[in-house]
C-alpha cells in the first residue's frame, strides 16, 4: 500500500511539474527577450521585463460598437504603421462593457485605451481611474482644445483636468421610409416641418389593423427621442449645476405632451411591440414609417438592404410656437487607464486618434461624425443618405443631460415612461414621478 501510494504521489508530482512547465513556458519565452538585454539572465522576471520594452508593448483597445469596429481597425493599423506600436481591439456590448470596465477599474486591469461616455465619465474621473491628460494636451501640437466642441470637453473634464480626448460627435435627425410615404400619397418630410406636420403625417401613415405605424419611438429613446421635444419647448431635464431635475417644469411637460398625443392617436406601436422589436427592426421591416435616430445608427442602416433602398433622412421638425429645432448631442471620448502598464504608448494612441488626420479619416470611412471641427464634411458623402441633415442639426445643440449617477435615474425614468405607454400613468403624473425620483438620486450624489 505504502509503496503504491508513494509511487502515485511521485507520478502526480511529475504531472504537476509538467503542467507547471507548460504554463511557465509562455513567460519563459517572453523572459528571454528581456534576458538578452540584461546581463544577469537569472534576474529577469519574465513578463513585466519583456513588456516594458516599448517595441513589445501591445495596447489593448476596447469599444462597444460593432458597427464601428472595421473602420477603427483601419485607423489603428495606420497608427501601428506610423509608430510601430501594436494594438489589439475588442468589442464588448454596451451593457457588458460597463460591467467589465467596472470590474477592471476595481481590479486594476482596465484596458489601455477605451471609450468613455458621459453617463459614466464622472464616476471614473472623480475616483482617479483615468489617466490625467491635461499636461500632455498642453504640450501636444496635434491636440488643441479649441478644435473640439467645448461641451464635449466638458463631459471629460473634472476639476479643470482633462481625462479624455473627444472622439466623435452625434446629432439626431428624422428617418423616413420613402416607399410608405409614396404609398400613402404624401410628400416627403422637409426641413421646414413642424412637429404638427409630423403628427399629421404619422396619422395618415398608421393603418388601423396594426400592420403599419407612423412613428417608432421606444420608451428608453430619450437622447434621440423625447429629450429633443423637451428642449424645443424650452424645458430641461437637469439644471446647470446638476442638483435638480427639470421633469416637472411646465415647459418640459408641454414637450412631453407631444409624445402623449402620439400615444393617444395610436401612431406609435405599443410598448409590447417595441420592447420586442426595436425602432431599427420596425424601420427595417417597413412597420414604422418614421423614426428619430442618432447619427451613430447610420452605419447599420447603410448596411441594411431595405433601409439603404427605401429610407432617407431629414432634419428634425421645428416647434411651431418657439421656432426651435434642438438636437441633443453627445460625444464619446478616448480615455486611458491611469494605472496601465503602457501609459506613454496609450497617450500616443489617443493623441493620434484625436489628431486631424485620424479624425478626418474617421469621417471619410463613414464610422461617425468626428469631433474635430471641420472634419465631418467628408462624412456626409460616406453613404447615399442625406447625411447633411445631421450636420445641419449642429446649428442648435444641447449636450445630453448627465450627472454623476445618470444611469441610475435614467433607468428609473425609462421604467416610469413605459407606464405612460401602457396607460397606467398620464404623462403629467409620470413627469412628476420622474422629477421626484431624480431629485432623490441627485441629492444622494453629493
Amino acid at each position: 500500500m505504502k509503496v503504491k501510494s508513494w509511487t502515485a504521489l511521485a507520478l502526480s508530482a511529475c504531472m504537476a511539474a509538467s503542467l507547471a512547465a507548460c504554463g511557465g513556458s509562455g513567460a519563459g519565452e517572453s523572459g528571454t527577450k528581456g534576458a538578452g538585454e540584461t546581463k544577469e539572465a537569472g534576474e529577469s522576471t519574465g513578463e513585466s521585463d519583456a513588456k516594458s520594452d516599448a517595441s513589445g508593448a501591445e495596447l489593448s483597445v476596447t469599444i462597444w460598437d460593432n458597427n464601428q469596429e472595421p473602420g477603427i481597425k483601419e485607423i489603428l493599423a495606420d497608427f501601428t504603421k506610423e509608430t510601430g506600436i501594436q494594438t489589439k481591439i475588442s468589442v464588448v456590448k454596451w451593457n457588458e462593457y460597463w460591467t467589465m470596465l467596472e470590474a477592471g477599474a476595481q481590479g486594476g486591469s482596465l484596458p489601455d485605451v477605451f471609450w468613455m461616455h458621459s453617463n459614466e465619465s464622472e464616476r471614473y474621473m472623480s475616483n482617479d481611474m483615468l489617466l490625467d491628460l491635461t499636461d500632455k494636451i498642453k504640450e501636444s501640437d496635434k491636440i488643441k482644445v479649441e478644435n473640439y466642441p467645448e461641451d464635449i470637453w466638458g463631459l471629460y473634464t473634472y476639476k479643470d483636468h482633462y481625462y479624455a480626448v473627444p472622439k466623435d460627435i452625434d446629432t439626431i435627425a428624422l428617418w423616413y421610409n420613402k416607399k410608405l410615404f409614396d404609398e400613402a400619397g404624401l410628400a416627403y418630410p422637409t426641413a421646414d416641418w413642424t412637429w404638427d406636420d409630423l403628427t399629421e403625417a404619422a396619422k395618415k401613415l398608421t393603418k388601423p389593423d396594426g400592420s403599419q405605424y407612423g412613428l417608432a419611438l421606444k420608451m428608453d429613446n430619450n437622447q434621440a427621442g423625447y429629450y429633443n421635444l423637451v428642449y424645443d419647448k424650452g424645458g430641461y431635464i437637469i439644471n446647470e449645476d446638476k442638483t435638480r431635475s427639470g421633469w416637472d417644469d411646465p415647459k418640459t411637460i408641454e414637450g412631453m405632451n407631444i409624445l402623449a398625443g402620439w400615444l393617444k392617436d395610436g401612431v406609435i406601436p405599443s410598448a409590447q411591440t417595441q420592447t420586442e422589436n426595436g425602432e431599427d427592426v420596425l424601420l427595417q421591416s417597413g412597420k414604422a414609417a418614421m423614426a428619430l435616430q442618432g447619427s451613430w445608427m447610420v452605419a447599420a442602416y447603410r448596411d441594411n438592404e431595405y433601409t439603404a433602398e427605401n429610407c432617407d433622412i431629414v432634419e428634425l421638425p421645428k416647434d411651431a410656437v418657439t421656432g426651435k429645432r434642438v438636437s441633443i448631442y453627445n460625444g464619446l471620448g478616448w480615455a486611458a487607464a491611469k494605472n496601465g502598464k503602457h501609459t506613454e504608448e496609450a497617450w500616443k494612441l489617443i493623441e493620434y486618434l484625436g489628431s486631424e488626420e485620424a479624425q478626418r479619416k474617421q469621417a471619410e470611412l463613414g464610422i461617425t461624425m468626428s469631433a474635430y471641427k471641420g472634419t465631418s464634411d467628408a462624412w456626409a458623402k460616406s453613404a447615399k443618405f442625406n447625411l447633411q441633415a445631421y450636420l445641419n442639426m449642429m446649428d442648435d445643440m444641447v449636450i445630453r443631460p448627465y450627472s454623476k449617477s445618470t444611469v441610475t435615474w435614467e433607468t428609473a425614468d425609462n421604467e416610469i415612461i413605459t407606464k405612460v405607454y401602457t396607460g397606467e400613468l398620464t404623462m403629467e403624473e409620470a413627469c412628476k414621478k420622474m422629477a421626484e425620483q431624480m431629485n432623490e438620486k441627485l441629492a444622494e450624489e453629493k
Binding site: Q272, T273, N277, T408, T411
Partner: protein, 298 residues
C-alpha cells in the same frame, strides 16, 4: 498530528490523507470562489458602498430596513416564487415520465435521450435568443403557426410563465439523466414479482418506481428549487429592459444584478442576495424536514 488521530490505524490515516488531498482542489475553489465571497457579501450588505470599492460607509441595518419596505423587492420575490412553482414540479414530472419511457428497451433510445439532453449542452445565450424569436409577437413562429397575436414575453400577465416554459425545456434533459441513473438502481425482480401478482404497469410505477426513486426525486427537487430561486439569465436575455412585463418578471437575482452592476449600488445589491440566501435556506430546511414523510431510503 493532533491527539485525536493517534488512534487511527495506518490504513485509516492513509485514507484520511488521500481523501483530503483529492478534495483539496475543489475545497480550495469553493473557499476562494464561494465561501469567502459569501461572507464578503454579508459584510458589504451593512455598508453604503462607494465607487470601485473605495470609501464604504457603515450604515448598520439601513439597507435591510430599505429592503423590507421596498415594494419592488417583494414583487421580485413573488415573481421568483411564481417561476419556481411552475418550473420545478413540471420539469420533475415531465422528466420522470420521459425517464421511465426511455428506460425501456426500444428503438432509437439513445437518439431520444440525446435529443432531450441537447438543450443542456446549448449555451444559455443561444437558447434565450432562439426562444425570444419563437415568442416574438410580430414575427414569432409560435404566433405564426397558431395565427394568434399573443405577447408571450411582454404581456405582464403571462411573461413569467413563458420564461418558465423555457426553463422547463432547458432542464428536462438533465433531470431525466439523473432519474435514469436512479431507475437503473431498482432491481428488476421487483417488477417481475409484481407482474406475476397481476400488477399493471401503472401500479408498478406508483408502488415500486416512485418509492424506490424517491431519494433521487428528493435530490433533484432540492437542487432544482435552489436553481429556480436563482433564475436570472433567461429573464435577462429574453425580457428587454424597457419591457412592460419586466416588473412582473424580474427575479431577486435580476434586481441584485441591476443594483450591483448597473446602478453600482453594491451594498444594496448585497442585501438583496442575503435576503435570497435566507429564503433559500428556509425553504431547504423545510424540505429536509418534510422528506421524512415521503422519501424512502430502502
Amino acid at each position: 498530528m493532533g491527539e485525536k488521530r493517534r488512534g487511527l490505524s495506518p490504513r485509516e490515516r492513509s485514507e484520511w490523507f488521500w481523501g483530503w488531498l483529492f478534495i483539496f482542489p475543489t475545497v480550495l475553489g469553493l473557499i476562494v470562489l464561494n465561501i469567502i465571497p459569501i461572507f464578503q457579501t454579508i459584510y458589504q450588505s451593512f455598508f453604503k458602498t462607494g465607487d470601485f470599492g473605495k470609501g464604504n460607509i457603515f450604515v448598520g441595518l439601513k439597507n435591510y430596513q430599505k429592503v423590507f419596505g421596498d415594494q419592488e423587492i417583494w414583487q421580485a420575490l413573488a415573481n421568483t416564487f411564481r417561476y419556481a412553482v411552475v418550473e420545478v414540479p413540471f420539469s420533475i414530472a415531465l422528466s420522470l415520465v420521459l425517464a421511465v419511457l426511455l428506460n425501456r428497451k426500444m428503438r432509437g433510445r439513445s437518439f431520444y435521450r440525446t435529443v432531450i439532453f441537447l438543450p443542456m449542452v446549448a449555451a444559455p445565450a443561444a437558447v434565450a435568443l432562439v426562444w425570444r424569436w419563437l415568442f416574438n409577437t410580430e414575427f414569432g413562429l409560435i404566433n405564426h403557426v397558431f395565427k394568434s397575436s399573443v405577447s408571450w414575453i411582454s404581456d405582464p400577465g403571462i411573461a413569467i410563465y413563458s420564461i418558465a416554459v423555457i426553463g422547463i425545456w432547458s432542464i428536462l434533459g438533465y433531470n431525466m439523466v439523473l432519474f435514469l441513473a436512479g431507475l437503473q438502481e431498482i432491481p428488476h425482480d421487483f417488477y417481475e414479482a409484481a407482474e406475476i401478482d397481476g400488477a399493471s404497469g401503472v401500479d408498478s410505477f406508483f408502488h415500486i418506481t416512485l418509492p424506490l426513486l424517491s431519494p433521487t426525486i428528493f435530490f433533484v427537487m432540492i437542487t432544482r428549487v435552489i436553481g429556480a430561486l436563482q433564475v436570472f439569465d433567461l429573464i435577462y436575455m429574453v425580457i428587454d429592459e424597457t419591457s412592460p412585463a419586466l416588473p412582473k418578471t424580474e427575479s431577486l437575482v435580476y434586481l441584485f444584478y441591476r443594483y450591483s452592476f448597473v446602478n453600482k449600488n453594491i451594498g444594496y445589491g448585497s442585501t438583496i442576495v442575503v435576503l435570497l440566501l435566507l429564503v433559500t435556506l428556509l425553504i431547504t430546511v423545510f424540505q429536509m424536514l418534510a422528506q421524512k414523510k415521503w422519501v424512502y431510503y430502502g
